[in-house]
Amino acid sequence: MPARSLSAVPDDGGGGVSTPEQLMERIARADESAFAELYDAFSARVFGLARRVVRDPSQAEDVAQEVFLEIWRRATRFDAKKGSATAWILTLTHARSVDRVRSAQAALERDTKVASRSTERDVDTVVETVESNIERTNVRRCLSTLTELQRESVGLAYYSGYTYAEVARVLGAPLPTIKTRLRDGLIRLRDCLGVSS
């Protein structure tokens, strides 16, 4: 039996385990036990991604709290036809993490007069040691099949939260080049990871 979400909690029917989509459907009906189950399945991913993007663990904790509250509030509007619950949750997590980085940066720019310095964000080059898992291994391996420029662009866009226009500026490349590089890189990752289905 597929223990989809790590924890086996009886669902409406009184048996089995639930997919994230099934949990979302119950959460949309204000089912708090389904929400707790979803939390247990996703807390490491939500917190881990937030931490990677915002860097500071206590800020990442705030972001994760915000994200889970938003999952609860917006569950009524989740539409499984547009993508998986996993993609929806991680997209939301990424967006809120980037918002946090940007508002911190804006505050820094207000406080500092040294514009040249304050516009530099912490470029992500170091891979932190976190718990190893196969997704991590797989992602690393597939990232290594990208060209260096694709890898760099994808990393700056996703893990450092840059817009593609900022990536272009940082790398000194034309905008259309970065657009296609991000697209080609992600397509290559998709094909390598075998997740197109």
Binding site: A3, E25, A44, A64, T76, R141, Y158, I178, L193, V195
Partner: protein
Amino acid sequence: MTIRPLGSGRSSDPEIHLLTGARALGAVDTAEAQSFDDHLADCPTCAEEYRSLLETAAVLGSAEATSAPRALRRRVLQDVSHTRQLPPDVTSLQGRRPVWRRPVTWLAAAAAAAVIATGTTLVVTQSDRTMTAAEMQSCVAAAPDTVTSTPTVGSGGDIRWAASCKAAVVQLPEMGSLPADADFEVWQVDATGAHSVAIAKKSADGSIAPAIVTIRMTGTDKSIAVTREKAGGSSSGQPTTEPIWQVEL
């Protein structure tokens, strides 16, 4: 990788379809994101590509998983217990309808992907149908019963599988050379025989794609094997050569 036009939208930017990658990575500013999202409505090919890239970006995010502080769980569950949910109907601002009087049409749409199952068997069937490759990978990454098996034929790569997930995640090694008109074919061997699960292609730089193959286990799985077959895979649907890589499960 070649870039081909993906349909034509009403957008003023003729190249807006190229934003699928940037948008999936959350790297497009708000105004442009809006025109891109509008464009998706006119371009099903773009929408499909965007969707698959969103799933890919989610794997990049999932790969960063790290245990959250314990106190967070309590805070989140507390928040939720006194937070009202948004009304499901985006266009309606009435917003005060109790949850049990939500529009039936919306619930029907949500139920399309997540039918409320009533028994163990049904749940299993439903879960199998809705579990994507990315979800199976996450499941195997976190399952307590995940086992790593290494090849008995060939070298490099491995398979991590969990009976509780009914899934196996195959890490293919680079696998050596291949004639120009051939591909690698991945086979799932169970009690009923060999079933083709993937065609893996070798690129000029020596890498193999897909490098990760996710397999839904049948319950009688014996092994996963790779053979060299003609480009596009064996036409008989059965392996025609001896395995060059094999892992027993």
